[in-house]
Symmetry: C3
Subunit: 435 residues, 3 copies
């Protein structure tokens, strides 16, 4: 190989590896897709996503303009388009452009106030086809996507081999004191929760229901100060009485006890039902109270996985795919997955889902965590159209890391690099979630 060839290698190599990875048919192991309406019907389903509304709002667009009652979809899109200039540097904006180009066959160099209606109409037309959701899946290289189901979801009316149920448990762990949650639990299980025993029974029934409907994971998002501990039945009984009696005005201590009890019970059910338990660690809800819908949450990066030490030790047979909200927690995740057999790295979540953090975090994992224990990426999407640009962003970064840090720095062959990429993108998801 001549010097010139050697030096053209990296850029070309990245493209080739990306090309290989972009051919794969994979499963997206975490989304918020509604299986009854998986794809968008107009561009408002795209630009109404909180990543755009919160950025436009942050750049100065009043919340009232965005969330005005009864606003027509097209009007809302027009207003948002007029406010995207200040965010056209963001990677989130680039997803929109890539979506337009790759899914709506948009060919103009920019999308702006002069031409957006054309795009709106183009998209609406495509989205109107019955085959659209399947076409989006096909173009995106997806064979299936995981859902995020409320615990009382009927799980009916969709193909659960393509839209795979996942039991989301935030409400049970953190909001069981609310009467409406108690009512939903009763409605879902036909169990009147009045004791630790009946609470366990109700939770068990939820798992039975989800397992019977092809669920492949249990999942929860957790605030930075959560540190799970087992709670004795007696203590749990007291806490349960308190929240049944007082609702959300029960004391902090009772609320914490019942959260811990429910959380631990979920882990026990994951063990029994052989479900991985996805933990998404670090979010503080409602920090910016006047933010737009879904644009109000932040975090305290002072969180440690040491808080989960007892959990990981207590459930060696439960697999915990872990997502951390802040990149500064990524090394702890890497180290914990390095020694705990039941801890697995899981994607790049939310505020860490931007290229600089992904690159730093994924590189650290790829070189120190067993290759079988890394779930490379999930889209976290609400509508199917987002998978394509989000996964492509990740695949480009993965290709960059594999090229620079494995082929160039460590002398790996291109084939070996693609094989590692394939494993973290496709194979591990399939094996860990049995899907």
């Amino acid at each position: 190989m001549s010097k010139n060839e050697e030096n053209t290698m990296t850029v070309e190599l990245r493209k080739r590896i990306f090309g290989e990875l972009d051919q794969l048919s994979i499963v997206d192991p975490h989304t918020h897709i509604n299986p009854l309406q998986p794809a968008s019907t107009t561009l408002v389903d795209i630009l109404g996503y909180h990543y755009y509304t919160e950025l436009a709002h942050s750049a100065g667009m009043p919340k009232e303009q965005i969330e005005q009652e009864g606003l027509e979809p097209k009007e809302k899109v027009g207003r948002l388009i007029a406010n995207l200039g200040p965010i056209d540097n963001t990677i989130q904006y680039s997803w929109f452009v890539e979506m337009a180009q790759s899914l709506f066959d948009w060919e103009l160099p920019v999308i702006d106030e002069s031409n957006w209606e054309q795009l709106y109409d183009l998209a609406s037309e495509k989205m109107a086809a019955d085959t659209w959701p399947q076409e989006v899946l096909n173009r995106s290289g997806l064979t299936a996507v995981f859902l995020t189901n409320d615990f009382d979801d009927s799980l009916q009316g969709f193909d659960s081999s393509v839209y795979i149920p996942c039991l989301r448990t935030d409400d049970l762990v953190f909001h069981l004191a609310k009467p409406e949650v108690q009512q939903r639990l009763k409605a879902a299980t036909d169990v009147d929760v009045s004791s630790v025993g009946t609470l366990r029974e109700a939770i068990g029934k939820l798992f039975d229901h989800f397992k019977a409907n092809n669920a492949r994971a249990c999942a929860i998002s957790l605030p930075p100060d959560f540190a799970p501990e087992p709670v004795s039945d007696n203590r749990a009984e007291t806490a349960l009485e308190s929240i049944l009696d007082q609702g959300p005005s029960a004391s902090e201590s009772q609320m914490r006890a019942i959260s811990n009890f429910v959380f631990w019970t979920l882990a026990e059910n994951c063990l029994q039902h052989e479900l991985p338990f996805d933990l998404m660690i670090g979010v503080n809800r409602g920090v910016y109270a006047n933010g737009v819908y879904q644009g109000q949450d932040l975090y305290d990066s002072r969180v440690s996985l040491i808080q989960y030490r007892r959990l990981f030790n207590s459930f060696p047979q439960v697999t915990f795919p872990i997502s951390v909200l802040a990149s500064v927690t990524n090394q702890e995740l890497t180290s914990t997955s390095w020694i705990f057999p039941n801890v697995v790295t899981n994607g790049h979540w939310w505020y860490s889902n931007t290229p600089t953090f992904i690159e730093h975090d994924a590189a650290a994992r790829l070189e120190a965590v067993p290759r079988t224990k890394q779930i490379g990426y999930y889209s976290d999407m609400y509508k199917l159209e987002f998978a394509l640009p989000k996964f492509r962003m990740y695949k480009r970064i993965l290709a960059k890391i594999l090229s620079e840090r494995f082929v160039v720095d460590r002398g790996w062959s291109e084939e070996a690099a693609v094989s590692l990429g394939t494993q973290v993108l496709r194979d591990n998801t399939a094996r860990i979630f049995k899907c």
Copy 2:
């Protein structure tokens, strides 16, 4: 484009983008310039800067040699030069070399004990010219610089359109218990502070004075454990009585209450006077008590912007340009600016003002924060000569990020990249601070 051309692209591209950015005329939005003596008179004003004295001291030079009473400037420079060998790897040292080459027309490859007197004389001669400050501004591409003014600064005797006042408030928030601060406040406002009402009046008068003299910001540096909260007038009254009575020996709780009250009152005045409130978060003062002058401060990186949650929510109309001392806080800053309209990223402060941290931090901001909400850089300088090398360091890193992460990774045009760089270097400062 051929393969070779493609691959020569990045290095050349960085240079071209840097060249464009280095042509801009901009405002430096945070310095410690003395407007009555803005530039250096001898090299001692350069090498006496704490970045050099503390590094030389850290590398073994006794403090007494540096801070000896009555030491002649030239002798001090000679002593420091003799101790710069161990720090010639640092980026700070590179600023000195770039300054010598670009401002003093130094042409030899090194500066050492054999030739420094030549440089000393060369510099002294140039600095002696009346036109020197303006020449330095011109060569540095600066049209104006922000000052850091004590609250009792008269703000007289200089052109406030070039040397723009900024009300620095550390003394008011953290040292109001000291009798000398109380006396300075009285002297500056003619208000005898004896109650919450008169304290508010005095602070209001400071803002009036600063606004009348073209001030464009209020600023403060904050320790890592500060978490601002509103304080009721009654509580503040008790705290004020206590510190007026007992001075700095007042209890921790009273001190904290008065700090919080003054801080909140400053924010109210920023709202009323339409001034951005620069928060520089994270410094612990006097950690190394025997360090050289200005070389005694460090930090505890366990700080979170969640501590400012209530402030950001309470003052939606006040813009908060935020600097963080530790790079590990940068993601929180990025995320907070991503959703809060009134939070803006501000430069790369102090211990984070070195290339590796700037590159990581700036890249994360550029791809996730609206482009209108990023103030790229400020010099923090004490003498005008520092702007040129510090800004050039930043511009080179910015050009690197724009080349690698925008043009190469994301397919941006060179023009678009330069435009983004221009916005964070020049336009945002002008718009946010109305200067």
Copy 3:
């Protein structure tokens, strides 16, 4: 220089700089070598290292298979080899391959179940030679290695100019309450510790013994919540009585007091005996209780060097080479070494000893800490064969940083870059430890 030449520069440059650095003869300033058996006797000494056992275990290999009583070395190696597939992406695995190629003259492209016995026999044969330890040192470019000696080590039976003693003090600081530690201390010093005075005497004797046997450092690893403070003799007396009486069941407060007292006394002895005090900050022991041997420790990255503020101020004449376990603490280390003359950066420890973290951390140090105050790397090895691949990993990263960040970004000459690399790899270790 043509464009093409310019662009071939970086890759070639990295190789040239690496080549220069790899020629150096250096001292490894921290290892766990047993000087009576410094090199391996079979491959089990290599693959039995916790980096492999814990990764294989993490990837699914049962602990019982690894740590089965009475397992033959060859059988254990065979079992481990069969479980290395899932970890062949890790940098740790790459050390094994590089070792095989550079030390055992292995020439096949892979090591797997089909050929590992060949490698086993090849290695055993080489290791059987009396000259093997010296040959490994020679091939690795090492002239000497530091040991990690228990405080009651006789330090006899080896050449202390090649195997340099280092007094490891974890047991004294954190386990003095254990009767066996007290007995070992008595046996080592002939002092019956029954008072603060005799405790001081015993510790002094340990230092005398170590100094008389060429010790060049005192060292300790510290948990994240340790924050050293001086303890009065009276307080220490109470604590000592308590632990002598109650052993490890003494109260938390007494345990902390005696830890602090012993730690401070060690620092006093380092001062008196002119020994650097290596602090390895941040480890939590036994987090994964059922992990394999030496694969049970993790950390809480919420640690700050501010906890050591009083120590650094109290012992200005003691040099503290500091290692941090988490990369997020590296900036604090960089900043602390930047201003404290007695604080020195020391290597890349354990969970931070992987390329992405080394690259980020070393780059930050190289550009902001005096070049004389950086100890680039130590191997932390248990057997001599590990030095070669570990140091080469570091040298490659160092060469990458020097090429990209010094020669390309800052215009340094290649010679200057090599000289900086030489200083952090070789010269600083020699000067700081006087070896």
